[in-house]
Symmetry: D2
Subunit: 260 residues, 4 copies
């Protein structure tokens, strides 16, 4: 693709404004750290903009979404404050082909639950324990650039199974937690024409988004989720004329015809 | 399973009351034909009840759903008249393990779109053309009892690709249409603990639900979608105590703790 | 199914004859413990026979395989002593519909590698560490009867990722190991008409096959892998006569026709 | 990727030398038509070489394979003349990450059957009938650039279901045949680190490889199957030292230790 991939980083941007711990780790917001990571790792291949909850339309106007190829989503404290109308709009764009990269606590966001059809709930524990992220699909484009079979996060929030999601189309990472759990931490799905990634490492009160391997995976996920072009076919099409001849035509009750 | 599988057949039951053609084919409703087919093919292995749109709670009270192992769903003219609250309730039960068999024009039902996360739209044409249903997964339990590589429906409504669904976990049938289209006509997915089947053959203005192979597939689908038992884990579980010892505990900002 | 499921338990039966430790744990062979577990858990629903490496045809004659609905396979020290001709025979039966339950070190068996197309290799460590088996698909029939979100094995051999298998059609268990690894320990695939299960817990020098939950999973896997009936279609079929009329026939070079 | 993708087009190159019809359509071999199509559609993004059956090592020496990122494979009359040793070598490279694009009658090649684990057999008829290739995954990169919901091939060989393959990881095309069959004509799988594509349109005695949409799909498939980098982990790794501390060490029978 000649032109840069247009990435919008969405952050609810609440914890950074209300907690000293979080502000200490992410003084300009987690979105700023992610934006800098994408710029450093992907350079001119992407053009990044930011959107946050408190902006009009949560920063996701029709215009912004129309100009977004891949959207990343971080939310936690304010999932319910995201307007259903905006969720509809984002879902529609995903089905049309926009990529969506869902991060950490956004497992419980409206948009992720909408696309999955399940509760997306899980076990969790915030005990600053060690997380070891194992690459279980080393040939997946999202795994590229990870130099070893795993990488470690010194202090992490535990997310554990059972995670109530549809089985991923592709599972690229599974996490091990010191306290005893496992978690499908790197997953992909397709919905309509859009590609969806869920990647769990990342937390407001630990410096996980500063971790080089976490940044690498997110950058890879953004590139992988890029739209592939082609027709959008998510609408009903009544095709009265057959493409090939039909031998005999039965009497059909025309009164039943209606638009779908 | 010693006790019979409790099956609820849901039918919006509109066309049969408003169209002479449909009433001629299904004088007591499509649900009655389906119920008789299940009784004939499955005998004492199932106990069938009926629910329809115009009953209180569309016939799907908490009590009825709590006593339903597998729900079949047929709708077309009145998808929008199904209350969102009932859709929530059915979705919840599917995630808890209730099977759901979605029939024909119910591809566009609220409950199916809710579970899929996509538009579920498709091409269609009502020209009474021939449909040939090919079994593409002859080892699947839902394909059992189909004696040949395919079966034919003399007069069918065409449903064609692209069908905007997540790729099925299992694809057991693909239909060929005389007028030139193909369609993924037999699909399964898992959502939460529930098994979901979509099977497209079946139409109000053709006698398709009287077709022996169509009945066989639906009976197989009902049995396949039976709950498998086990825990329901679709809720968040905060687990403060680790299962295995954690070496060092980092200071965590307790002000961020909250129920998910 | 009215008649009992015919199960053949295959064991290479080498370690039990050469190691005091193994004989102490499994005096009559691991197969005997598995057979007793199936009898206890499944009763008259199954009829079990045993086959071992040193029998003629490794105990897997055409007659035995023709009368086997589900085959379980345990091997470790003698994978290369299994004759290719017998592997061909077992593969053929799987494609025709026989279930196959592959246990522990049989990840490296000829038959499993044949069906997967990959090396099926993995990390491992024999340090008697704790394994915690997490159920990640609580609605799967193979997970039925496991009372909690996980079960534990006090002393286990570590098997870890990356495990070089095609992504499972269904992943029902992931194991956590005390020493720091994770493993996709419960997987299913379909090959031809046959259902294939891989379940890793189980080891010759630990009493893992005496563990109630391990036995429950294996019993469930055997039942799940039962053949579903229907046609076997794994052979080429030349169909000179079309099912539907072809408008115009082009000249075809008959000299190119040949059986496939 | 800065450097061009290194593509090797493998053709058994038998029919072109023995049949006037085939030579008339592909005077310099089907490989020459495919090479020209890749050059035209992909330009400097690829560097193409040719390999054929009658070359030493079938043109697939260790050196050639080591310098191949994506291999395309066409065979029909001489599958059995491909040496097992070369099949082993190609399989190994696929597991290490080389892409493989399997064309038309190569469904029955040794390498494809090796990677699938099934017979890969199908129905077929050579009656020069119309084939209509429906795109069922319009968001897949391999579907990019196809301008409509389908494309047509005026005279095609019918390949029909049941096609004995493992369910594709992704199904991007289904074909409709005038004579009445359907076929999963565009499929992808992952094996080890390699990406595998099967695309059925293409036949020696019809000019199908001159068809613009067929060429587009093959070019897309080649690009999609490019290796993604990262570690190759298809070998056993004994890891005696745990990554995390193990509380108690049980006595293990060291006599059982052995390399896998």
């Amino acid at each position: 693709m000649a032109r840069p991939l247009r990435v919008t980083i969405w952050n609810e941007y609440v914890h950074e404004l209300t907690s000293d711990v979080v502000r200490g780790l992410y003084p300009e917001g987690m979105h700023a750290v992610l934006a800098a990571a994408l710029a450093r790792l992907l350079g001119g291949a992407v053009r990044v903009r930011i959107a946050t909850l408190n902006q009009p339309d949560h920063g996701l106007t029709f215009e912004v979404l129309a100009e977004t190829d891949v959207l990343t989503w971080w939310g936690h404290a304010a999932h319910e404050r995201v307007e259903d109308e905006i969720v509809d709009r984002v879902q529609r764009r995903v089905l049309e082909g926009m990529g969506l990269v869902v991060l950490h606590s956004a497992h419980n966001s409206k948009i992720f639950r909408r696309l999955m059809g399940t509760t997306c709930m899980l076990r969790w524990r915030e005990a600053a324990e060690r997380e070891r992220v194992w690459i279980v699909d080393p040939g997946h484009p999202i795994s590229a650039g990870i130099a070893d079979e795993f990488f470690e996060i010194e202090h992490s929030e535990m997310y554990g199974e059972h995670f109530d999601i549809p089985q991923p189309d592709e599972l690229f990472a599974i996490s091990w937690f010191e306290g005893g759990e496992v978690f499908r931490s790197g997953c992909t799905w397709r919905r309509g024409k859009g590609k969806v990634v869920y990647f769990s490492p990342g937390h407001e009160s630990f410096p996980i988004y500063h971790h080089p391997s976490v940044q690498q995976v997110i950058a890879n996920a953004v590139m992988w989720a890029a739209p592939s072009g082609g027709l959008y076919l998510g609408q009903g099409r009544n095709i009265p004329q057959p493409l090939s001849p039909i031998a005999a035509r039965h009497v059909v009750d025309e009164s039943l015809h209606r638009a779908k």
